[in-house]
Amino acid sequence: MRDMIIPGDMVSDKPLRIANGFIQNGKTYSKVLGVYDAAERTIIPLEGSWMPRLEDSVVGIITEARPKVYIVDLSYFGRALLIPGKYDRYEFQPGDIISALIKNIEGKNTIILEDPKPLEGGTILSIKPKKIPRVIGKKSTMVRQIAEYSGTHIVVGMNGLIWLKDGNIALATEALLKVEREAHLSGLTDTIKNFLEKNKSE
């Protein structure tokens, strides 16, 4: 049973230490607009900004190349830095697009990235970060079928930025935006498959 919840709604009369919830007077309330899965005891937010986690794969744009550090725009309110190690052999210019992994989160909102891979050309689409798991789909089924039908290279960042290159980018974009809009509906993989099937020829 999953119920839609609104900030301030009680999800349990016991104190539960769960993400997106808070405890007051021994009871647990939701901080977000979302759904509550009582069996799993999890609050799943429907909207909101990205909350970075270690090892998240992200897509970003280099905004500054300083000696020994790159500043990366992840479309996030905190800072993201890429600090080349002694043996790293990469060089970027402002405006370059990369994918990278989160190595560390320092202080409250400074993200340290590692393992950058250049993404050359193409464009970037931003999707609400909370919809990214749906964009990827179970075992990447969703993003894979969009890539196959459109012939587009797609790299999805957990931060909500998606890199697209070649193929029918307009079709891929439409499909991704449809996933974003309909993320809360069931049977989405088939819906998108039908959509791609119908529109691929045009």
């Binding site: 725009d73 405006g95 307009a170």
Partner: protein
């Protein structure tokens, strides 16, 4: 510009080089226009226009003022525009920006020179005439505010009703007549990206453009033009775009007329 806009800008240029627009439109194709008029009952006239994802609300108010010295027998028209901070992440709070002033002035010039509002009909009595205030409120920005603004202003003016004036007093609760509108103007804005002129540019296309032109026409005449941004157009290009603008005018005029119940 944000880093992501710079990336999108170079992508738009790449696409245009292949003859494709980001939303698949042809070079001379407008986005869908939707008009709701009379939304704001407190205003004497109003209309909300959706041009794709661009949304502009126009409100009209009539104040009883003293006529200008050089035109003692007529009223006046004042157009203003606000790029509201809720319309785009790139808009800021504060005094009117040069962009909002340019928008208001370009829309104003078209309406004024096409003599859309019958200013003589605004004369009330010795030293009293209506001033028609048109405010353009940008609620969501995705490019081409000039054309959306013109449609909104024109639709709002067509919906405008003049308040009652009795014994030296304005009775706003009662409206006695339609505002006299003699002509309808619409505009066509083109942004030039990679040597191609694109009608009704989106925000991304505007970011990628180096030259822009707005052509306001009625059925017969070009009534106002504004060349924007640092790039240029050839005389031949301008001629072709004027032709397109005239063709668009007929279509848009119909849409505007249909929005009036």
């Amino acid at each position: 510009m944000e880093a992501i806009d710079i990336v999108k800008t170079s992508y738009i240029k790449e696409l245009i080089a292949k003859g494709i627009r980001e939303d698949g439109r042809k070079a001379n194709e407008f986005r869908k226009i939707e008009i709701v008029s009379g939304l704001i009952k407190n205003a004497e006239g109003s209309a909300q226009v959706d041009l794709g994802a661009t949304r502009v609300l126009a409100g009209v108010k009539l104040n009883l003022d003293e006529p200008m010295e050089d035109t003692p027998n007529q009223g006046n028209l004042v157009v203003s525009a606000e790029l509201l901070p809720l319309a785009s992440a790139s808009y800021e709070t504060g005094p009117p920006s040069p962009d909002s002033i340019e928008l208001a002035r370009v829309v104003d010039r078209g309406i004024r020179h096409a003599k859309c509002v019958n200013l003589e009909s605004l004369f009330v009595e010795e030293a009293k005439a209506w001033t028609v205030y048109v405010d353009l409120y940008v609620l969501n920005y995705n490019g081409n505010l000039f054309d959306a603004g013109s449609i909104a202003a024109m639709s709002a003016l067509l919906s405008t009703e003049v308040p009652k004036y009795e014994d030296g007093k304005v009775v706003r609760e009662e409206r006695v007549s339609k505002l006299k509108i003699d002509n309808i103007i619409t505009s066509s804005t083109f942004a030039k990206v990679g040597g191609k002129s694109l009608l009704d540019p989106t925000a991304n296309e505007t970011n990628a453009a180096y030259s822009r032109v707005t052509i306001a026409t009625d059925e017969k005449y070009v009534r106002a033009m504004q060349k924007g941004m640092s790039g240029g157009f050839s005389a031949k290009e301008i001629e072709e775009l004027i032709e397109v603008a005239f063709n668009n005018h007929k279509e848009q005029k119909d849409i505007i007329k249909k929005s009036q119940k």
